[in-house]
Subunit: 421 residues, 4 copies
């Protein structure tokens, strides 16, 4: 048939089942290490797809309790698809990656946002809120998401990989482990932990390798929680479908890995598992710029955002400064993290005025396309950070009114089966 | 003449001359204190204008040396126009302020961006760069600015008041002074200072008051450097002409003051005097929402941005994490300030590849409509912050290319007459 | 498995194979008539998918000649999926349709744009150009399209159904046929035809119906070429995925049909088959507003555009007026069609200066996200219309330069195997 | 004083008083003719200002009756500031004009939108509505306009010169006059007129010239109503402050003239005097590209729009096709003007449902930043054109609702003192 001729689907280099635990599947791994061999190799210019499980590897269900969040095993995260080697890429090169598309599986048109327990994962307000597990299930309806657990909003996804990066060299890996161990050593028993050292438990490589190699990788491999010089778990919402990213290359072939797909996320990803986490498919293509690290002074990835990121021009913006206004009134020294947190708490207080519970507001700000800008970082002692709610995501008008705000009963998000919040 | 009938200009409630030192003019003040009387009173709904000197009060000149920056007297800043009382505003109310326009004086179509000396003002990289005074003069050409000191760029201004706020109550003022003194006491001799205590020297009220009142204000009045719960020097670029801001009211009449007009600024305002500082005119109108503080949970101002903020959709975005990658490699704990600084240093390094000096790059990132987003603040231990260069402001294509970046000789910005950089 | 529970894919109500001729498949039809029974019925609020063949029903191939365009059988177009009845919809109601997503088939990651022969389909410049068949094949790479036949551009798709509408009542159908026959009668032998009367040849209903009913539908059914009061073939590029459309309902159930999916299109769709035509899947949901036609004065559809339409803020805009500047210089009377054509010819002339052939330029302006605005329609005698090229779709800088425009050899698009252009 | 040094305001090359009739002032003219001498000359790169009277030259007042609109003398329009010669510009060159700013006079913070009588000016619906004079006065509040005659809306201005162009050569002028006379001759007594021939009455040159020269200009000079190859009265709202325009040059010096300043306008400028007409100041700079007409195939101006055009991302869009749905149901042949009119009538009907009178709706759609896109011009016989209302300009929510639209009493615009509408 004429029209079928030359109809070649883009190849799927990693195939997974989103309903099967990650550690029972091939092509997935959850540690960073230069010795993890490439699972597949591509030529520059080739378009290819990678299927991805959700970041937990099928630990969370589409239901109305948060017990699975409470009990999640975080030694097993994040489950990444790859590594993918790119022909011709060498240390010092720049790997150009086009993130061409990011979509959920057709058979799994839903995702979730979670508040993790203070003792198991935490989140930006884990201590302030003494967080207990909670979650919202989001239904994917084409470009939009809605949630039965957070009624009254609908928004377009700024879909992106929460985690994408090239493999570190042995030297870079050693640097990471050393500097993070240094931080941990300041308070080794902190809850939540200050950082995460290599951990054999839960480590998974997803390929049939010599047990000695696996052991080495598991015992040395960097954890995937933080973003680092190679990209990694940066959780930048605008590294979305349609964006083009320039990565430094540290080993032969670059060995790109990707996972932690997000249907949507707000700047800051507040509640830790704050994005709308999903399993799905990412479409990529790559090219190599020889010597790009030197050419572009490339200490970390740089990128061009997508022309199809959601545009909501009307916003309500909350300010925050580096004083703990919502707590003890303590004055911090130009601390943008504190300023962000205050802006976020101002926004949560506002959302509670229109009827959301604190947990719903926390989840919504984490998951929706919230914009957070650094205002100023030079007006001692107060950093100023803003956080913007896009008005177009709300079904009703939430702007300040002469008569005050209309309070609606939006129920509550999914909480623990024992009812503890 | 028929067409002249009903042609009533908006009243100018504070008139100043931008070329005369601020402390020789009426209607200006440079401290926050509830006892500063209203200089004028408006009715809700009334449109009015306030003329403003530049933040230093005419200390900086349109020339090619930075000696004036080096020698600036910072006890005299910021010079604010007002206070303006609003009829009917009472503590606990919300003062709605429409920032209708912000323009330079016709007779002064220029402004400046400065790098301040480590010992006199500092800036975000004052220590890293051991900053010596430098500056760029910007010429205003309608909606655009260009600089002979930073060739190769032209951008539309996101013009705004760097500083706008309501007067504090005595209680709030006491809180500010106490918490900031607490911070200062941790390292009273820090350079730059951690914060700024009330300072009689340089204090100016701009009205004929009882000397005892002036003395009280000068000795208790909060300094204007940081933004606080009332707004103040937040330096939020998107609080721009066309925006609507909701302020908490702390005293009878609200007593709004405004100054530190910026023709443009980048998120973060990096170099301290990083905006394009200008003298000019701000057009405002107000309204009052009774009990708004309670109605909207208003701990700090919230605002709606303007529909006429500059739109540059193509961007090159730099990532930064809370590791001092450009310095000693130290690992910080979820520190967004460090992450912002690393993103900024990545951008500076890139701009140096295309030919700008470090000082030019620092000034440009401070002054142009740079966007800085908080990426994620939950991936321990690394905060991730991004910084976006709008491509449309550059006269030539600065994107990464196979062949590397074209390096152009852009000269140097204004430096000290002794040639020290 | 816990994560599989409640993972229910959205139902596919029409399933087709894009490689099989449309008239061999069920659930497709190519005429408008109230007697075509609903192929499926949905409840308000339900999310569902419809698969669609390309508008020609598999007549065009992915190859490098345009003979298939030359020989296309236009009596068989457009092939629509449906009708879909919505429970509770009655004449006079408003049918709200959310266009949730529009994607190509995974197995067919390509589409085409065609210039049709003057004698078979034509196009806006069919007479001026004495058009011979030509085409461009576009490869879909996630959100982007590129073409081997038009190198040097890449753009994000504003994907949409070229054709979507509710079924006409018998009265409305009669009105259409009468008024269009009136136009045809003014010049029955015009080439291209002024309009298209009902045509039994090629008519297809896609359901097993009484032959008498089929005959009635085929002989009375309105052709699908023009948009009309019910929507239909409006070819509005911004009725894209993420948009919400309000249709008048004319018969019980509303009977919505959809097809002619476009990966992208420029305003005007210049070359007739000017969009990037594709087969694919549309995801929809609906609701009903009783009496909406009266409530909203709904003579034709109205809609809210999508927040994820591609945003390219930098543009080069061409003006056109209602004088045939490119032809005989004739003065027209406030004719926006002529003004559009002149703006388009100005743009084509510019694109030829940078190296595209006339055919490539014609195809590119038809397919890319070109914006055409009505400037003014009141300055007698000249209508003014503009046409904007988004600069971000070009791989190189096409702006006017002191030194003129760089001319690149972009080859030629697909032409007829006999080489006639 | 140091800060005053080098503070050089941009020169004002044409100074006018907006309250004095145009024909009593220098530097204004209201016909196009190559023999009008340059009123001033600029060097490329120089920033300069031109003051402009409103298009009628002070015929319309800020009051609540439309009698001045009814009685306007249209032989005296448009009053243009200039011509301004640019050093070095020669026929065949491209004159690059940066429209740097467009602002009202401080002493005249208001403008107007008018519906002209069928017999004196008309407008797009003059016949359908049998238009009687009506108007709305708009108050300028910084970047925004509001009207006591059209309550319930506030919008940011997309301020622009309705009219800007280079002087025609004698040959081009002759072509204009010939082709427009040809159109007029088809129906010389049409009301409104089809076009406007040269007219001695009302002609004004604004310079002390030889009476013979004045007579020649007055008798041959092209009227300013339509836009033409040189730009002229194109009334393109996005040729706004911040845009850069490329004009063909037809005579030595280019001789640029500008006027008809608009604070805002909708695409189409529907009611003829549909923009918010104002007197004010335009800031410009120019450069010359030698041989630019040939280099860029420049038959008409092309331009780059401004980064500070108002952005209202939420819209309600009305469709129109080339059938007179609101009138006799007549079928037109691919007529975009008819399609625009139907979309506009659909929008007017909708606005009447929320409480505006037909006259208010007509004025609002003319004056507000309405976007009108050409949908498709190839689906015979129906052109499809859309018209978009930005939702952010309305004080209340105007979206379609289950319960219908809330109708508010908005009063009426300014009408004739005899009460005839």
């Amino acid at each position: 048939m004429a029209t079928q001729a030359n109809s070649v689907p883009h190849p799927i280099l990693v195939e997974v089942d989103p309903f099967i635990p990650a550690d029972q599947q091939k092509g997935l791994h959850n540690r960073w290490h230069p010795d993890i061999p490439a699972y597949a190799t591509v030529k520059p210019g080739q378009v290819f797809k990678l299927q991805c499980v959700d970041w937990t590897g099928a630990q969370i269900g589409n239901n109305d309790f948060s017990d699975d969040i409470r009990n999640v095993d975080l030694t097993k995260v994040h489950n990444l698809s790859g590594p993918i080697a790119v022909e011709g890429a060498e240390p010092g090169d720049c790997l150009v990656v086009d993130i061409l598309d990011v979509t959920p599986f057709e058979k799994m048109p839903w995702g979730y946002t979670g508040i993790f327990e203070l003792e198991n994962g935490g989140g930006l307000f884990a201590k302030e809120f003494k967080s207990k597990a909670a979650k919202a299930i989001w239904d994917f309806k084409g470009v939009y998401a809605t949630s039965r657990h957070i009624p009254g909003v609908r928004f377009a996804g700024v879909s992106h990989p929460g985690l994408i990066g090239t493999a570190p060299s042995a030297e870079l890996l050693a640097t990471w482990n050393e500097r993070e161990r240094g931080l941990i050593s300041k308070d080794p028993t902190a809850v939540p932990a200050l950082a995460f050292a290599p951990e054999i438990k839960g480590a998974y490589i997803g390929q049939d390798l010599d047990p000695e190699v696996i052991k080495k990788i598991a015992s040395e491999g960097a954890r995937t929680i933080p973003g680092r010089e190679h990209g990694g778990n940066c959780d930048i919402k605008n590294l979305s479908r349609g964006s083009r990213c320039y990565f430094p290359v540290f080993i032969e072939g670059a060995n790109l890995s990707v996972g932690d797909l997000h249907f949507s996320q707000g700047d800051g990803e507040m509640s830790f598992c704050g994005a709308i986490e999903m399993a799905g498919v990412i479409t990529l293509s790559t090219s190599v710029i020889k010597g790009g690290v030197e050419k572009f002074a490339l200490k970390q990835p740089i990128f061009m955002p997508s022309p199809v990121d959601p545009l909501y021009s009307s916003k309500l913006i909350f300010e925050g400064i580096s004083v703990d206004i919502h707590g003890d009134g303590k004055q911090y020294d130009m601390d943008a993290t504190v300023a962000y947190k205050q802006a976020a708490l101002n926004a949560i207080a506002y959302l509670m005025k229109i009827g959301y519970t604190r947990e719903q507001a926390y989840l919504l700000l984490s998951a929706a396309p919230i914009e957070s800008h650094v205002g100023a970082l030079v007006d001692s002692p107060n950093a100023c950070v803003t956080l913007a709610l896009p008005l177009g995501i709300f079904e009703h008008d939430i702007l300040p009114k002469e008569e005050g705000l209309q309070k609606i009963d939006f129920g509550q998000c999914a909480i623990r089966s024992d009812g503890v919040v």
